[in-house]
Amino acid sequence: MDFLLHRYRSLTVLVITILAQLVLLAYQVKTGGDVRLIRVWSVEAVTPLARVLEGIRSSTSDFFSNYVVLSGAQAENRRMKEELGRLKMDNQYLRSELSTAQRAEALAVFQKSAPSKTVAARVIGSSTGANAKVVFVDRGFTSGVLKGMAVLTPDGIVGKVIASYPTAAQVQLITDPSFAAGVVSQTNRVHGTLKGQGRGDCLVDYVQLEQKVDQGEWFFTSGDDRVFPKGLPVGQVSVAKQGTTFREIYLIPSGFQHGLEEVLIVVEGIHQQIPDDVSAVNQPMKLLPPPPADASTEPGLAAPDGGAQPLSTDADRLRQKYRAIGEAQAHKYGEGMTAPNYNQTAPAPVAPGTSPAGTAPGATAGGVKPPNPAASAAAGATKEPVTPPNGSRPAVANPPAASPGTPPASGVTPPTPGVKPPAPTVKTPAPR
């Protein structure tokens, strides 16, 4: 045995080394644990050097941009070019100062206005993995950064902390293939799982084929994953198509739009509401006051209960017409499996104080007169009796409980059921 071990010493060392690493790997995969000590050593060995390198790079870059470029000016135009160079230099300096100040101000404003408590950090390196989208930031657990915290920019989420070391932390970007987070669409509130692809865009998975997601729609964090607070912008849909099992939805992450140099780490997350669709809601809208309530003189527009309140919508008129048809055919809505014959013309409704045959001039065949020509053209309800589509039971068979009341005096149209009311005072900031 000793002879064999000595004879094949190098092979023995190789086998032992490989076996040891296989055991290490198996332990981590099985238990989900980590060999933290080695990682801490490596990170603590590399990140100080990375910081030094970053300092050298930035100062060297400044040196070259300030002096070396200018020293190449032509001799004959030396004085003018020096003057121009100085001005350019000042301009460049001021621009960079302004840009830095704006970026810092934007970050500070966002940090102040965001309900979640955040810590600002700077990206100082990337990971060594083959397809990994992982970066290092210069804040660690001494700054309160812990594993599992969300990382974002004012433009949107960028990733989550997957390891925290004393002075640095490792952040898995949302484009990493093993990243996943819960998201919800802005308009239709479609829930899905955001997955990285290892490239610039991300996939929103597990969206059913019948759910509606449009191109250009925004996705926000849903808060389901317990990592990202609800309501943070994620990105805008670039491709939305039908897949085999689920819909294939790809979105462009919004968090990387202005580069990835400074980020915010959410140390105390607070869920927010998902903002309404900015394009549809935030536009100012002018509404006219409702027309005057003078329809009580016209029998076709009187309230069905004979009250003084006029009918004001096409739905109300249809409802009255179908009710009249039902009464004429002794049909009671909601009972039995048959529907009344809607093609049969119903007798004109009788307004209080008028005879059944007394139809007002200009009333339609159905006993309904549109309030104005525009509404008539829009509704298409002029001379033709209304036929329900495909002979199915009309939607007004069980009419909504809301009765057409007098519109408010403020001149604002009351919200129509199913239509989201605009937010006139609070302006939702557009996700950038």
Binding site: L14, T17, V35, G129, Q170
Partner: protein, 181 residues
């Protein structure tokens, strides 16, 4: 007579000596190689294709000419690389251990100071490294990682080309050659 006593290719004889380096070189060069992989791709995205830790592993293994040393060098550099990734530790470690062992074994049969031999070995070990890493990712971690053969070959040539001047630079850090028995 050792198990690697004969030259495979006539005319390209084996080296008779192993190179020695200072401890600072053994410590700093791999560290800088790993640092390069962490830091530079932030600014030059294509630099992520350069596998400097692998080239350093190959170089030290070739020049030390001892399979045990190559195995240990590969394991240490690989684990250092692993510890800076977010994957379980051991993936780069296993692959680079094998690279170190085979590079050191090969060095006993070739003149590893010949630039052509270095170029070929650099390309071969890059391809081996990438392929074996892909196999391990699928087999041990069940990751559905793709393997682009064309890209790997092109990037292998690039790495081998970068390896040539790098090896020459590292040759300058050599302290002395020790004759092998």
């Amino acid at each position: 007579m050792s198990e690697y006593s004969e030259a495979i290719i006539p005319g390209i004889g084996r080296r008779k000596a192993a190179s020695r380096y200072g401890p600072a070189v053994f410590l700093l060069v791999p560290l800088l190689a790993v640092l390069f992989q962490v830091y530079v791709p932030r600014f030059v995205e294509s630099a992520a294709n350069l596998e400097l830790p692998l080239l350093v592993t190959v170089y030290f293994s070739l020049m030390r000419r001892q399979p045990i040393a190559g195995t240990l060098i590969g394991a240490v550099i690989g684990l250092a690389q692993d510890s800076l990734s977010h994957l379980p530790m051991g993936m780069f470690g296993i692959v680079k251990t094998l690279v170190g062992y085979f590079a050191a074994s090969v060095s006993q049969r070739f003149d590893v100071e010949n630039p052509a031999i270095r170029l070929i070995l650099g390309f071969f070990f890059y391809f081996f490294h990438q392929f074996f890493y892909w196999v391990l990712s699928r087999a041990l971690l069940s990751q559905q990682v793709g393997f682009d053969l064309g890209q790997t070959l092109v990037v292998g040539v690039l790495n081998a080309a970068v390896g040539l001047p790098l090896f020459v630079m590292l040759d300058r850090l050599r302290q002395e050659d020790v004759a092998l028995a």
